[in-house]
Symmetry: C2
Subunit: 461 residues, 2 copies
């Protein structure tokens, strides 16, 4: 198709939905993954209704054209990068909150609504939407569903999928399917809701989401503890949770990350520490006791300093430090590769200690922060991307971290997804029968392989 042709979808979709200007397409070619190829799309469709999505997929199916669904393109695995000749199918304009039902404690939203916008609106109704990926101020619920996104609250409340009751999904051939239910429970047929959640746009395009909400919780109390070794911090995590405490946040930052954050916001953190833990309890009257127990456990593992915030505002300041980690890493002036391994809690110490030899072997910086309570760490490889040789070493270090996670009984991805970035590694994590099953399901639901082809599943053979 040359630039002067009219794309056939223009005839089928409402005015103002189909874009093929080169600059628009260029601006939509990539998500936030590092080292993932992005092709040249043929067209961008901004869907405004389920019917727009169905029309697009019906045409794509008939014409065997690949479709890449996109939300806010804040993903970190390349799942939303363009494929040569593809239709970029943006759901961003389908951003309505259709219903918040306070009595049933559920809501119905379109996929394009931003997580933070929705959570705030639920809060106005006295309700709580826990899934809080680091990207929540920009990422969409649809994108969160596509990756089964996590966040800081997961340690107590679970991940996105734990809050999804039902979906409206457009299948590869344009047919519209409803999965799941509005009710608290339901076992009518296979759990297609959970199959679609986390499938990264490869099995269907989600056009409506019914989520469960919780009653608002008490304002959390916050504490931080500083440790002379990373091992002490990691053992505190396992020890505290092992005693039966269920904090609403339990985060880790290593020394280079603490220093990077200090550089952009002086929070008065002490020098000479190897790692820091940040903990919250939202159990109201029980919260002070929860934090006192945390202090006791932390000190038993050699914590040099434990600060319990006296009021929620001070606690919010400490949380802000954790939220600045991404920015702080970016401000190092280096390219970053963000990993996402998740290991059993008692192996946290081996994971975090294992990063030093990896950094030394591949001569790159490796910083680390993450959701310690879940064992879900985000080691960050920082490198000079203008140096091809260093870039290659960074990629090797990134791979070595995943290999370490698998050796420790963990997974290559706790919450970011496989996308393009880790598809080769999926074959390392799954066994042959598991890979076969995944491919069989993909082929059954998308026999022409038009939905985000080449993502998630590694090439066969």
């Amino acid at each position: 198709m040359t630039a002067t042709d009219v794309h056939p979808l223009r005839e089928l979709l409402p005015d103002g939905s189909v874009f093929d200007d080169a600059d628009v397409l260029e601006a939509h070619r990539r998500d936030r993954a590092t080292f993932c190829p992005a092709g040249t799309p043929s067209v961008l469709v901004r869907a405004r209704s389920t019917e727009d999505v169905a029309t697009t997929l019906r045409w794509a199916h008939e014409n065997r054209v690949p479709v890449v669904p996109q939300g806010a393109r804040s993903g970190l695995s390349g799942a939303a990068n363009a494929i040569d000749g593809c239709i970029l199918l943006s759901l961003e304009k389908m951003d309505a909150i259709l219903e918040i039902d306070t009595e049933e404690q559920i809501a119905v939203v379109q996929p394009g609504v931003v997580n933070g916008v929705f959570a705030a609106k639920a809060g106005e109704h006295g309700l709580f939407y826990p899934p809080d990926p680091g990207s929540r101020s920009i990422s969409t619920i649809g994108g969160n569903v596509a990756t089964n996104a996590g966040g800081m609250c997961c340690v107590k409340y679970g991940v996105t999928g734990d809050f999804v009751r039902g979906l409206e999904v457009v299948l590869a051939d344009g047919r519209v399917m409803r999965t799941g239910r509005r009710t608290a429970k339901g076992v009518a047929g296979y759990d297609l809701t959970r199959l679609i959640v986390g499938s990264e746009g490869t099995l269907g395009v989600v056009t409506e989401i019914t989520v469960a909400l919780r009653p608002a919780t008490a304002q959390p109390l916050t504490a931080v503890a500083f440790f002379p070794t990373i091992a002490d911090a990691a053992r505190t995590v396992a020890g505290y949770l092992g005693e039966g405490y269920r904090p609403s946040v339990l985060e880790f930052m290593d020394a280079p990350t603490v220093h990077a954050v200090q550089r952009i916001a002086d929070l008065g953190f002490p020098d000479g520490v190897a790692g820091m833990l940040l903990v919250q309890s939202d159990r109201g009257d029980a919260a002070p006791g929860d934090l006192a127990a945390f202090e006791r456990v932390a000190r038993s593992f050699a914590a040099t300093e434990v600060v319990v915030a006296d009021d929620p505002a001070e606690g919010e300041l400490l949380m802000q430090a954790r939220r600045l980690v991404g920015d702080a890493h970016e401000k190092l002036g280096l390219a970053t590769l963000v990993d996402d391994v998740c290991v059993p809690r008692r192996r946290l110490v081996d994971l975090v200690e294992g990063l030093t030899p990896i950094a030394e072997t591949y001569r790159v910086q490796v910083l680390c922060a993450g959701h310690a309570g879940d064992g879900n760490m985000h080691p960050v490889v920082a490198f000079d991307s203008s140096d091809p040789e260093e870039s290659a070493r960074a990629q090797q270090a990134f791979d070595a971290i995943m290999a370490l996670g698998l050796r420790l009984g963990g997974t290559i991805t706790g919450e970011h997804g496989v996308g393009h970035l880790k598809r080769r590694w999926l074959g390392e994590e799954l066994d042959e029968a598991g890979l076969w099953s995944q491919r069989a399901i993909k082929n059954a639901l998308d026999p022409r392989n038009i939905l985000n082809p080449g993502r998630v599943l590694p090439d066969a053979g």
Copy 2:
């Protein structure tokens, strides 16, 4: 095959695994469903290892022989009933608790372990396995996984699937697949764990289950409230939960059920009530406040009497009343058809009030108890099964209850599964694209249709 033939599986499996005595087969033909056909099996295999299961399925796949997996056969939907010529594949002897890891708060079990046995063992380690189907003293974890079983704790803690982290599954052709993970989180590939959970033996045979456990909770406090109308009880449920309380139990019993229980265990329940609610809070020091709030809400909806148990033992006695419901219904001297609809909480009142006209129309008794906090009710049609005409009316009443549940925005099954009993109704609940997707997945994973064929999915066309 005549009785003197040696079944080919005898050559392939360990001694003492293969049974074809007529009395053994007869004793294993049925689960606890009413009105479900049971065929004549060719053989019973008692698997003692994953390898036994794999060998059995490999042979069945090669020879296109249907396989019906069985646990304790305590299911209520006919999913474990024999099919003519089938292999009954019993997992009951695979009943080991392989591991309880107190630090990670997970356990690994074989499918044949009885729920109550496992929960008690976890309790000895200070851990809590919440899923508590009414059958927990006899049903197996494997069966609970097959149906995604619920119970009384679900209102606060969720269903079986919420606690399953990973599975070992033997595929239809005998290959062994591991799904999921041991870690708290993981998004590597499609969520096959959740796809297998609730699939009632039609997609694979589960041979090992990794479950999440929780720290033990405080001894719960218990209260009961009696209401002059069912509507008042139902409104109390919606009102109490709508205020943000999260009871660990919130159960309903109607007057005929209360009377039936009184008949087998005099609990001193008052006369002249239309319905009763039973509530628990396990929040330790916060529990008395939770129950005081319940009393306030119940009285605002005209509760005639509210009893708060002063100590856990008295509370346990009240819980016992709820656990006796099944026995009490059986002791009516009638056959029973146990339904399992789940509706939005605010429609509970319409569901329970709608049972009276159904009972009148079809001239059968309809009693009702259930997990009110989840909107998951178990209306029980009681009838004289020696009267074919009354039996037919009972079946019609049973169907009318499902139709009512669907009209109220609910589902035909909250926790018992579809099995044979409700497969026709699955087509009423799911849309065409949903049914197509379910069939496509079944066909992809079991192309020869040997795994529990004819269960869950309605016949096409």
